[in-house]
Symmetry: C2
Amino acid sequence: MKIIIVGASGTMGRHLTTAFEKEHEVITAASKGCDVQVDITSAESIENMYKQVGAFDALISTAGPTFVGPWKKLTDKEFRQGVEGKMMGQINLVLIGQHYINPKGSFTLITGALSHDPQKNFANASAANGAVEGFVRAAAIELEHGIRINAVSPTVIENSPQYFPFFPGDIPVTMQQLEYGFRKAVFGANTGQVIKP
Amino acid sequence: MKIIIVGASGTMGRHLTTAFEKEHEVITAASKGCDVQVDITSAESIENMYKQVGAFDALISTAGPTFVGPWKKLTDKEFRQGVEGKMMGQINLVLIGQHYINPKGSFTLITGALSHDPQKNFANASAANGAVEGFVRAAAIELEHGIRINAVSPTVIENSPQYFPFFPGDIPVTMQQLEYGFRKAVFGANTGQVIKP
């Protein structure tokens, strides 16, 4: 299977690359330092990525920039970080990528528990996650040729200890649990699902 | 109670204005034909509305422009209708309005069943609704001075028969049910809830 991993230079992306490249052809993509360069806040850049990679079987996104910070600083301007990044960035990966993906291929996006389980400082991510999850459910009934779409929605992950204080009482998701969430999405048959690893 | 109704020139807004003005001071707002003029896609216009109205007790929004149409026509450009309208328009009503609202006031936004129950042609609304619902849950734990925030989430409403064919099997929500959803949000004590009328 030919799998594109967007956000491959990040913590999750590196783990998934190592895990999946043993048995699959993995194309890594990120703003720098990967096989292909992509800026997901630009539809043009996304289109260029797909043109370079050509037909593929699965797109995994672990790319989700949002504004994290005090509510008092959250204005329209800061909110756009999550709108352009985690929300429209990932939505455009699908709207554009559907024209390049093979039949029966799959898209797997990243959201997070904040959509339903908010924490202070993360309202921008709550909105972006909610948008992506709503989109995933809607896209699942629109995509043709057996193409599937799902989201993986972890809470705080084990190797981001800098975020632990912001998620009191949340048991961190291990990298293996996260990997298995993506395995379910990519290699399973479900569509329109929000998978909690 | 001094209540601002944004989208007051629309079907829902007119019904709520008639229902609530019997016992409350209602300020109607819309792009035209109301007490106050507002373009919710402009943060500046929203700020001007609040400056004109002054302190208030409740903000009701029934304003939710999104792109409705075939999936094949849904690109980044069309998606922005829902992003700027139903999503950021309503989010900015809160981010800006929190500086004008009285203590113990409330914001009530409009979403819709499409966030969790998608229908063809409405992926843009599914995403916008999901974003607003995620935001409502997050804002509820951030807003101070006892200020509350909720969303009302109907399926298709009885006096929009032009949409019935797009919502097969959905029992239309009556205007009275919708009104009671808003009553629960405005006059009840809940916060962070998505109310299904």
